[in-house]
């Protein structure tokens, strides 16, 4: 199923930010229909994204059950380090606990392996799997269409339980599909614009000097993160924490953290202006869906 975490959703709805695993605290959600302990519980109970996500899951579950399948409500996935710190790790407390978040990724992998929908799917016959995917995704990936900013046309089925759930929750499925796919593709564009900006490059220089002074000769935060998170060559936790902590401390003292934040804000607004329709649609559709979502979760199964 689909988990949407577009930055513009947050900006458009409220000024709140999604809380990650800072300090290791987690708040169980009273409206959460699933009884499984979930790393998704890192978010506050009334977080709009969480509410919308769970409501969609409940609708999908009902739809799949009507078609004769078992389906378990998926908990919202935890925020990945690339979402929490898109450019530079700048939270020393988080860095001290998680480094670059490889511990969280390993935990997430274990959760996924134990996921009941995944197990159910993999234990099904070939025909059973075909029916499950067809009933969830739709049998053909056509019906919905959106043209991304750089020209690629992305399509998706307008049938199936996921589409039906989104139609019920958001009302205008076509607009929802366009809004989410277009704004979702803007995040990567934004980061490219930020890192290409000479103000960012100028701010990286003192950061790199600070890092070098601590014995970490990396040219930019992309390099340091890549070094610590290379696939198949895991670092000892203490080493990962050491580098991430230095990165965070240097990000603060050099001013890179502030520059990155302000450039992110500036380019987010700029890209929103370049795509006004999808940006506005995303904010409006999520705002209008929230009361529906609360009703869906309140009445339960």
């Amino acid at each position: 199923m689909h988990r949407w975490k577009p930055a513009l959703l947050i900006a458009g709805l409220l000024a709140t930010t999604v809380t990650g695993c800072g300090g290791g605290t987690s708040a169980p959600a009273p409206t959460d229909p699933t009884t499984r302990a979930a790393s998704g519980a890192h978010r506050a109970a009334d977080d709009p994204e969480r509410t919308l996500y769970l409501a969609e899951q409940v609708l999908i579950k009902k739809c799949m059950e009507k078609r004769g399948h078992e389906y378990w409500v998926e908990p919202p996935p935890p925020e990945d380090v690339s979402a929490r710190f898109p450019l530079v790790v700048d939270d020393p407390a988080w860095a001290r606990t998680h480094g670059y978040g490889t511990d969280l990724r390993r935990r997430r992998e274990a959760e996924v392996r134990a996921d009941p929908n995944r197990k159910y799917f993999r234990s099904a016959s070939t025909a059973g799997r075909a029916a499950l995917v067809s009933d969830l995704n739709g049998s053909r990936p056509q019906g919905l269409s959106a043209r991304l900013p750089n020209g690629v046309r992305v399509t998706h089925s307008d049938r199936g339980c996921q589409a039906a759930a989104q139609r019920e929750l958001y009302g205008d499925l076509e607009a929802w599909f366009r809004a989410t796919r277009v704004t979702g593709s803007l995040a990567g564009l934004r980061l490219g614009l930020v890192t290409g900006d000479k103000r960012y490059k100028a701010a990286v220089a003192p950061w790199a000097r600070c890092m070098r002074g601590r014995g970490h000769p990396y040219a930019d935060p992309a390099e340091s993160r890549a070094a610590a998170t290379r696939e198949g060559r895991p670092w000892p936790h203490a080493k990962e924490v050491g580098l991430a902590s230095a990165e965070a401390e240097c990000a603060a003292s050099s001013g890179l953290s502030d520059v990155a934040r302000s450039l992110n804000t500036e380019y987010r607004a700029e890209l929103g202006r370049r795509h006004p329709r999808e940006t506005a649609d995303l904010a409006r559709l999520t705002r209008e869906a929230l009361p529906r979502a609360r009703v869906i979760l309140a009445r339960g199964d």
Partner: protein, 152 residues
């Protein structure tokens, strides 16, 4: 074009990379046959499907799990379809280099990019890494199933 045809014939028994994820448990499948031009409904699914030509043309490779190297489809694809099932990782990060190396793009569950030869769709994840900003067409070498497709 003729080289592609040679590769297709020579590799027909191994067109699909063996699943490398330790938790997948599924076996390698032979999809060396030429796919018809029209997009067709797969017999079984939950796969990431890729095609060497747009609109389901050329030959197809597909995976239930991750792949470190797209083999006969490596750097040759123009049509990507994520037909994964629910259960955690159902989005796919598409990497320019083998073993999840370099910059990547991401395709969400149920989405299809039926023709990446049009426009200039780029690897938009991995600022600072190899091929960041380059076109994804004929430029993908490996993939990983992930939780979702948005960042920051």
């Amino acid at each position: 074009m003729s080289i592609k045809r040679m590769l297709t014939l020579a590799a027909s028994a191994a067109a699909v990379t063996v699943l490398l994820s330790p938790v997948s448990g599924a076996s390698a499948l032979d999809t060396g046959s030429q796919a018809p031009v029209a997009p067709r409904v797969a017999a079984a699914d939950g796969y990431l499907h890729v095609y060497t030509q747009p609109y389901g043309g050329g030959h197809e490779c597909k995976w239930l799990g991750n792949s470190d190297n797209w083999g006969t489809c490596r750097n040759l694809t123009s049509d990507i379809w994520n037909n994964g099932y629910a259960g955690g990782n159902d989005a796919v990060d598409l990497y320019t280099a083998p073993s999840a190396g370099g910059a990547h793009a991401c395709i969400s569950q149920g989405d299809r990019w039926i023709d990446t030869t049009t426009g200039e769709y780029r690897f938009t994840y991995g600022a600072g890494l190899e091929q960041f900003g380059a076109s994804v067409n004929n430029n993908i070498s490996s993939h990983r199933w992930v939780d979702y497709c948005s960042q920051g």
